[in-house]
């Protein structure tokens, strides 16, 4: 299996605060790596550096064999690296289907087109409808995004990410804010992610982490505390002390 994402010795400081300390790991196709750690461990900061929202002070990020450290966010998306957000980040007034269509236009590199109407791309429209159907959102196609229940908005986060056909997917707490009973669609979506995809997931729900992940990376105070299979992590005394408590 080829390595899709290779993170090498990332380091980042915010003034006196050392938020990322020499973090290295890699993802291959089919990997389901969970990034866990106490609040303030630097998980989201790490995802922000990998996705290109902020640049590391030192270290390298390689995507599918190419150095992506200097690429901006758009460039990384085009190279197949897509992320979701911990706090829902959508276009609130867009109809749900429009929102998905926009992701498809972007994937196909069509948003530079300035003349032909958005309604003149029937195949993309049909694909958007398919995606909505897959997430059980077909009935909400014409609803303004902000009028949807929060759980459904979390689904759109995921739908947009998958619409871009990523090779590497960074999921930043996909279940955050979703009421316990409302997560079924999201869990189903997580389970049915294509096996060719490499996934990095940040999640606080340990049941989900141990069910979903085939590898776990534990971050504490910006540094890698442990990495291993769920069983290894469960047995690791360092992890128990730092994170899992007793």
């Amino acid at each position: 299996m080829t390595t899709l994402l290779d993170v090498k010795k990332l380091d980042k400081r915010f003034g006196g605060l050392h938020v990322t300390r020499g973090v290295s790991f890699s993802l291959k196709a089919g990997d389901r790596l969970a990034l866990i750690g106490p609040n303030g461990a630097g998980k989201t900061t790490l995802v922000n550096q990998i996705s290109g929202v902020m640049s590391p002070d030192s270290g390298e990020i390689w995507l599918r064999g190419d150095d992506a450290t200097r690429l901006n966010q758009a460039g990384r998306v085009r190279a197949g690296l897509v992320r979701t957000f911990q706090i829902t980040t959508l276009a609130p007034h867009f109809a749900v289907q429009r929102q998905v269509e926009l992701a498809l236009f972007e994937r196909e590199g069509l948003t530079g087109r300035m003349w032909r109407s958005v309604d003149a791309y029937p195949t993309l429209k049909a694909e958007a409808q398919d995606i909505l159907a897959r997430f059980g959102l077909r009935a909400h196609a014409a609803t303004a995004t902000q009028d949807l229940a929060y759980g459904d908005q979390r689904l759109i986060e995921m739908a947009l990410a998958l619409a871009l056909r990523p090779k590497v997917l960074l999921l930043d707490e996909p279940m955050a804010g979703v009421p316990k009973g409302d997560g079924a669609h999201l869990l189903a979506a997580l389970d049915s992610l294509p096996s060719s995809l490499a996934v990095l997931i940040i999640e606080h729900d340990m049941d989900l982490v141990f069910r979903f992940a085939n590898r776990i990376l534990v971050l504490a105070e910006g540094a890698v505390l442990a990495e291993g299979t769920p069983d290894e992590i469960r047995r690791d005394p360092k992890v128990r002390a730092a994170y899992l408590g007793n």
């Binding site: 980040t89 109809a95 429009r98 269509e101 069509l110 300035m114 109407s117 958005v118 791309y121």
Partner: protein, 334 residues
């Protein structure tokens, strides 16, 4: 600075309706309506062609502002700069090179687009208030440059002394202003259609997405800066066209075409008509210019009082609310 907050507040829901509803209306319909109404107004009031021309040009300028404020969500108070540059460029071209109106129009468009391209490269790196203040700064710099460069611009006396040759070599600019009105209306309709196509295209959708949430758009892989830069340049081209029309139909360009007051007035017109829909820009410009004309002919000193009152009314009682109220009443009668 109330204008800014109100613009932001009004721009959002307007963009909402435009984006949420499926775009059923074809792009040519609203421009066709403008063409018919404009032509009818000119035919019905042949003694008011000067006023009509002013409305058409102002509408074109507010349309350009709507692309920036209503569609892209960039609050600017320096839009007059793009208009003024187009006006001076067309005027100077007519005086120094060739007085053909269509070539002059192209020169005005190029000047507006050129300024937007240059200033946008710098301005669009900033957001919110910083962006707003920098747009003011850019237009003030241009104003003082125009004041200094008397040899080119005529300074405080304005740029005049150019006479346009007949349009397309056939239609001479007459004293009643018939050709001028038709010319301005034609340019307005064509560029209105262009703007509608633009907003309804994938590019327009991406720009509206940036207005909604730039972080989301970046995560979708949109080159946010580049999209805004192109949009700003197109808006500059349209503002430049309005400037060229103004120069050619008035045969004079004054420093007021670069003034802060004009930028602020344009924003008032946009709020009046509703931002983000393009049609609102044309309605706002028409209502404001008619009101200005009527109020100023009744009382030349206090017409701003009327405009101010109207603006307060529009902001407090938004047109959308009025429509909802009218619809409820109509429903109640039935």
């Amino acid at each position: 600075m109330n204008t800014i907050t109100t613009t932001e507040a009004l721009a959002a829901p307007a963009a909402a309706t435009a984006a949420a509803a499926p775009r059923g209306a074809p792009a040519w319909r609203a421009p066709l309506v403008v063409l018919v109404l404009g032509a009818a107004a000119c035919a019905l009031a042949p003694d008011q062609l000067g006023l009509m021309t002013r409305i058409f040009i102002t509408a074109l300028l507010v349309l350009s502002l709507d692309l920036v404020v209503g569609v892209a969500g960039l609050a600017t108070l320096g839009h007059a700069a793009l208009f003024g540059v187009g006006a001076y460029a067309a005027g100077i071209f007519a005086l120094q090179v060739h007085p053909d109106p269509l070539i002059g129009l192209a020169v005005g468009i190029a000047a507006g687009a050129g300024l937007a391209l240059l200033s946008g490269a710098f301005l669009l790196r900033y957001h919110g208030f910083t962006f707003l203040m920098l747009t003011v700064a850019v237009s003030q710099i241009l104003l003082s440059l125009a004041q200094r460069a008397r040899g080119w611009t005529g300074g405080d006396d304005g740029l005049s002394g150019f006479v346009m040759v007949p349009l397309l070599g056939r239609f001479e600019f007459d004293l009643e202003g018939r050709v001028a009105a038709c010319y301005a209306l034609a340019v307005l309709v064509v560029l209105f259609y262009v703007a509608r196509r633009l907003v309804g295209s994938p590019f327009g959708l991406a720009v509206r997405g940036i207005h909604e949430n730039p972080v989301r758009m970046a995560a979708l892989g949109t080159p946010v800066f580049r999209r805004l830069w192109v949009l700003y340049t197109v808006a500059g081209a349209i503002a430049g066209a309005a400037g060229a029309l103004s120069a050619q139909t008035n045969a004079v360009v004054g420093l007021d075409s670069l003034s802060f007051a004009l930028s602020a007035e344009l924003l008032v017109m946009l709020i009046l008509g509703g931002a983000g829909r393009l049609t609102g820009a044309i309605v706002g410009a028409t209502v404001f210019t008619l009101l200005h004309h009527t109020a100023a002919s009744i009382n030349p000193y206090h017409w701003l009082f009327v405009v101010g009152t109207l603006l307060m009314l529009v902001v407090v009682v938004s047109p959308a609310k009025v429509w909802a109220w009218v619809r409820r009443r109509a429903g109640g009668v039935r």
